[in-house]
Structures are given as C-alpha cells and as structure tokens.
Symmetry: C2
Subunit: 421 residues, 2 copies
C-alpha cells in the first residue's frame, strides 16, 4: 500500500512536535535538517556564557526518533521546493518527494539591512554561534590581562549587548556575573570587576513583551548586578572598535547581537507572500494560500490571532502549531471534516536575570525574584529532552550555585578575535 509521505523541513520545536504528533500507520515521515541535532534554543545563551556544555542542550535528531521506524532523518540543506513535482530539492541535487510538506525552518538573526555589522556583533541561533561568542568573551579577558594601554584594556573589558528582549537580558545578566564574581580571583593584572556590561535597547524599556512593572524590576535587578542599561536610543553603527549608540561612541571589543530576526527562505522557495521579516503569511489552518498540502509553522510563519496580533516567535507557539498541523494531516487521511482554525494559547513569558532572579508573566499572574527563578529553572529542565540532559543541566546549575564556577569555559575553534591573525 502507498503510504502518505510527510516531509518535515527543520527540526526545531515546531518540526519535532509535528513529527511526535504525527504517528499514524498510513504515514511515513522524513525529517530534513541542515544540522544533525535538535537544539534547545532557550538555553543557548548559557552555552555562549560558559554555564552549559554544547551537548547538554542538543540531541541528534535521529537518536530522538530511534524508536519510531516510521521516521527517517536526513542531514541535508534544502535549497528549493518543486511544487509541480511535489519534491524538496537539496543542495547536493538529491530530491525528496512529499504528499504533504511541513516547513518549520525557523529564523536567523537579522541586522535590519546592516549585514556588514555581523562580523562585529555575532548573533545567537546555532551551537556554533554560541561557541563563537564564548570564545570572544573569554579571549577578551585573556587579552585584557596582557594589555598595558589603559584605553585598550577598557575596550577589551566592555561588553555590549544589543537588544533588550529575554536573550539580551539573560546574556547581560550572566556576563555581569562572570565578570563581577566568577573570574575575579583568576586574573592577576586586571580587576575583572571593572568590566562594563552595556545593554542597549532601542525601545523605551527592556523586556517589551512583559508588563512594565516587570521591565522595571528587571532593569533595577540588572543595574544591581552591574549592568549599564541604555534604552530609547538605537545603535547607529557597529565596527571593529565598538558601537555607536545614537551619537555616543562606546569602545567595546565584544558585541553581541540579540535584536532582530529574519525568517528562513521558505517564502522564497514557495514564491508566496511574506511580511517584512520574511515570514510566510499563512491561512487560518497554517497552510499556504492555494497550496493545501504545504504547511508553514513556527518562526517562519506569520500567524495572526483573533485579536489581530501576530503569534510570538517562541517555542510553545511553534510546538502548538506543529501539533495542530499533525492533527489536520491525520484528519485528512481519515476524511474527517476540516477542523477549526489554529488558535494560539499563550502560556506566559519567562526571563532570567543573572544567577538568582527571574520574571514570569502567566496571564494576570506576575512573579519576580528567586521564586520566579526556581519556576523558570524547573520549567526549562522539564522541557529538555531526555533524562540524561535533565540530570546534566540540573547538575551544571547546582554546581554553579554551590561553587560559583562555570563548567564550560573553553576557548575552542581556530578563528581568533577579530583583528588577530
């Protein structure tokens, strides 16, 4: 019997959830991803800041589905969709036929048309981004230890984070902790406590998705642990020696980009309408207009709620969409009537600030401080895949809490700091 072929492109939260929910005797699934691993992106900033090891938050896709013989995993770089022939085209020329296609290809960080900033202000989406940032961060302290010119040393000890959303806030918090506590006893020529951590947000307040009370709390908590906050002024340039905030130049050798994102190329592959960020404008059932066999979900789709607001680009939203798409595909196979339009259920917003504070917004409930931190930590451990990672991450955090040490402070890869050979 011919099985219904579902191809899922992208093994992020949306794609993984779709595969999990799509268990059906008449369906065979192929997952295609450029990487061999699913990444738990909400903790990626902790790899970038030396708290967690890469393998603690990433799992081989095929290993996750080892007990699902209906799922094949394929390491491949998709470069197009052949809608006529219903085939996915890979860079190496291979094609993969589908009956139904789920595009869950996510987003990359974007520089609002200023791509020339990227070498100076790397963003944080893939594991390699995290190890790149980790290397630059640690190298800045190493070079400062050797530097004799006070001005140059100051620039080496200035860390600028652009973007005041959860990622920016979380990065700033851990870098402050690293500079003001973890590393203090380890350097002999410099006092790492003199480091400046500058968090820049063009909008009026950090954590704009949260209630203003929580933004205010986060700003005070960050300032208390040594973060300088600059809101209301955009970054106007990024270069080798630092950034310009409005008119003011801030010499900084380490800059991290946590501002905009740009959707994947799914819209280009399909040649269909997208919004300014490149997200595919989907129908209420998450398919593309005129292509009922193609679903687009997660960060690469623009889904509008009944209130007219777009569904946010966060993990729970992508998972809900993956589950919904899987449900429709199963219903179609058994010729059930079309279900209702996708309805996003917002579970809440969470962000940590440094080592022992967090802010949480669950509907009308707003929490801050250590209790919020514990809920944040437990929620993240709960959502990690597999007992092994839960144990390992819990142990890493416990270790840091007890000893103040970070367990993954490695400078690896050969590329060195910009400007160096």
């Amino acid at each position: 019997m011919h099985k219904h072929k579902v191809v899922i492109v992208g093994a992020g939260f949306g794609g993984m959830q779709a595969a999990r929910s799509l268990r059906h005797p008449d369906i065979e699934i192929t997952i295609i991803d450029r990487r061999n691993h699913h990444l738990f992106q909400p903790l990626l900033y902790q790899v970038a800041t030396t708290l967690l090891a890469t393998s603690e938050i990433a799992w081989p896709i095929r290993s996750v589905f080892r007990n699902r013989p209906d799922i094949s995993t394929l390491l491949g770089d998709v470069v197009g969709i052949d809608r006529e022939q219903k085939r996915v085209v890979l860079r190496d020329g291979h094609t993969v036929p589908f009956d139904t296609l789920i595009l869950a290809t996510g987003a990359r960080h974007a520089y609002f048309g200023r791509d020339e900033w990227e070498p100076y202000a790397p963003g944080l989406k893939a594991l390699e981004d995290a190890t790149t940032i980790r290397r630059r961060l640690l190298l800045a302290f190493e070079r400062a230890e050797l530097e004799t010119d006070p001005k140059a040393r100051e620039a080496l000890l200035t860390f600028a984070i652009i973007g005041g959303g959860p990622t920016g806030v979380e990065l700033a918090g851990i870098i402050a902790q690293l500079a003001h506590h973890t590393l203090v006893k380890e350097f002999r020529s410099i006092d790492t406590r003199t480091s400046r951590i500058v968090l820049v947000e063009a909008g009026p307040r950090v954590l704009p998705a949260f209630h203003p009370d929580l933004s205010g709390y986060a700003e005070r908590a960050l300032e208390k642990i040594g973060v300088t906050i600059r809101t209301g002024i955009p970054v106007t340039s990024c270069g080798e020696d630092g950034i310009r905030i409005g008119e003011t130049f801030v010499p900084a050798q380490t800059v991290i980009w946590a501002a905009g994102v740009q959707a994947s190329k799914a819209g280009q592959w399909l040649d269909c309408p997208t919004d300014r960020a490149g997200r595919v404008i989907v129908e209420p059932d998450l398919t593309v207009k005129g292509m009922p066999e193609i679903f687009v979900i997660g960060d690469t789709a623009l889904v509008t709620g009944p209130d007219g607001k777009p569904v946010p680009g966060i993990a729970p939203a992508a998972k809900q969409q993956g589950k919904y798409a899987a449900g429709i595909i199963r219903d179609r196979l058994s010729s059930k009537p079309s279900p209702k339009a996708f309805r996003y259920r917002h579970l809440g917003n969470l962000a940590t600030i440094g080592p022992s504070a967090a802010v949480i917004e669950l509907g009308r409930i707003r929490l801050k401080g250590w209790l919020a931190w514990w809920i944040w930590g437990l929620a993240h451990i709960y959502f990690l895949i597999g007992t092994r990672s839960r144990l390992a991450v819990a142990m890493s955090w416990l270790w840091t809490a007890v000893t103040g040490l970070h367990s993954a402070r490695l400078i690896t890869q050969k590329e060195t700091l910009k400007g160096e050979v």
Copy 2:
C-alpha cells in the same frame, strides 16, 4: 624583595604538575599556554567518538590555579627563547622574563615526513582534533544514509585507524561499538552493522608496549566486536578515497591517524641537540646541557633511564618530571646540595578495548577483561581534575552502560567532509 621568576611553558601534565609542586614564598610562577585549558588527553579519544563532551575533560588553566595568587596564567603562543636576556618571546611581540624556565610543550602527531597525509588522516592531540574527528565520523554515516551507489556507500562505512597503540585500539573499539550497537536502530537506508573498522599497525602486534599475551587478548577482543586487524604491513599512502596498506588499496572515507608523534619546537627555540623525533636530549637532572636554568620535561624531552631505554611519553612520566624539576628549583633556592638524577618509576600500562574490556600491566601483574576495565575506569576518574568532572564523566559512562546511548553526538563547526563545499 626580588622573587625568583619561574616561567612554565605548556599546561599539559608536566607543566601543571610542576606548578603544583612549586609552591614557595620566594617564587612567582607564570604559566604560558596557547590554549586556555588543560586537557585530560588520555580520554580525548572518547570526545572524538561521541562518548564524552569537550568540557568534561578540559579545565581553564587559570581556574585550576584560582587559589594560587603566586601563579599567573597567560594565553600566548611562544615562538622563541631569548637565552641572553632570559626571556620567552610570544608571537604578538610580548616577552616574559624568567630566572628559571620549564619547557613542557609536549608533542603533536607526526606523519613521518608525509605531511600531505594530514588532511585525510587527522590525528588526535587537541580538543579541536577531537571535534573534527567526531564530525567526520558522524558525517560518514549521514552521507552513507543518502548514498545510492553501493561502492561509495561501502567506502563511507569503512573507518581506518592507523596505529595500533593504546589510542588506536581505543578508537577502534568505540567506533565498532558505535557502528554495531549504538547507531543500529537510527538509520533507515543503511545497516550500520555492515561498517568495517580496520585497525592498521605496521609492527607485528597491537599494543606493542604491552606483554604479547595482552596484545593477543586485545586482538581477539577487538575482532570479536567487529574490528579487522592488519598488523605487520605499513600504510604506504593516504588519500581522498582511502589508504593503501602495503600493496592493497582500502577505500575508506574516514581515516584517523594514531601513529607517530613529533616533539614540539622547544629544541629549535633552544638550538640544542635533539633526537629524530625532535625531543631535546636532556641532562640527568632534566636541564639542557650548558643551560642549568632551563628544564625540558614531558613528551618534548628525551630522558633515558638507567636501562638505556627512553622514558615513555605518557602522563605519569610527565608528572614525575614536573615534580622533580620543581624539587630541584626549590632546593637551589635554599642552597641545598644537588639531588640525584631523575629516576622514572613506571607505574604500568592501561588500555581499554570497547565498552567492557581492558588490559592492564602493573609490573608483573597482567589483567584483562571486565575487572581490568573497572580498574581502568576508576583510575581515569581519579586522575581527572575536580569533583565536577569526576561526577560528569562517571555519569556519562554510567549512562552509556545503562542505555547504550552516547551523549555527545554533535556535528559542529563549519568545515565539512573533505571534498564537500
């Protein structure tokens, strides 16, 4: 008061032990290394074969010595020694003055004058080597899953390890385990059990440093878990498509070099006599002839025992030399008479073969099988630095023993398989 400046170049086992043993109120120590971390090299092959994560076997040098204010750590690439001025010269032009110098700069893998083999047969010395090998290993299976030509598929599923010492034996054992057990359920087009793991040794038997009985046991144990052993014939070429063993061509897309090593450039820096492998020929007190203030220890020194045999290039030997050099320096400061010549105490040889067997030689005691494996495991955990790593490595091993899964199967970095874009 002027303190006696000791500079240690290289934070391997020898350099770290020297720093540990050199605690003296009148001494200040600077450790210089190209990397920011000390690496537990005996377990590096487990990172290359996806059993352990990088951060489980590497620790920032300055973190290890955080409670030793007499020790400064410097990330720098030494390019020469200025003997007249008694200064170490770094690549970036910095110089570091010394009263006493300890060179503990180790060794790299060497290709016996066939450096053109390196791109095809990477060796295993640094963390990046391990992640490179890990990437190639995992990519070979991924590409085989997509390959339709049976010949090409066979070459992708052939893994050749060159060199039958402990590293070669250990690599072959885990790769066999990976192919014949761990990965079996995860691929749909290929049967990973058809993989060939070929261990090539030019000499007459594997583990040449061990008693022939143990070599024989190791060969049988390896064959039992699916390793093909080729002894007595040297590799005559390494290329893009495979290797040549004597006259026979073996198509293999993944080749790992575990054969020769070459000492660091310490001998060139000092312009002093070395042996063929580049090791500095040192005096009985580990100093260089005519340079009593310069010690050379570990893999970069040729130390000859009273039996005329060179001290082996293994961790315990380097540590004994580091401790000995530290003792001499302390004695000199307190004007004690010169101690006796360095005397190497051989503690034994250990090697694992796959997941539950090992061979151990402690003087006249010879052990093999699971008991040897347990002793091997406990010894390695004992020698890891820090409670954190001991727990983490023990947990990784336990996890693999119970579930058969490996915890660090990540393809990272951007370089892809040779031949690919």
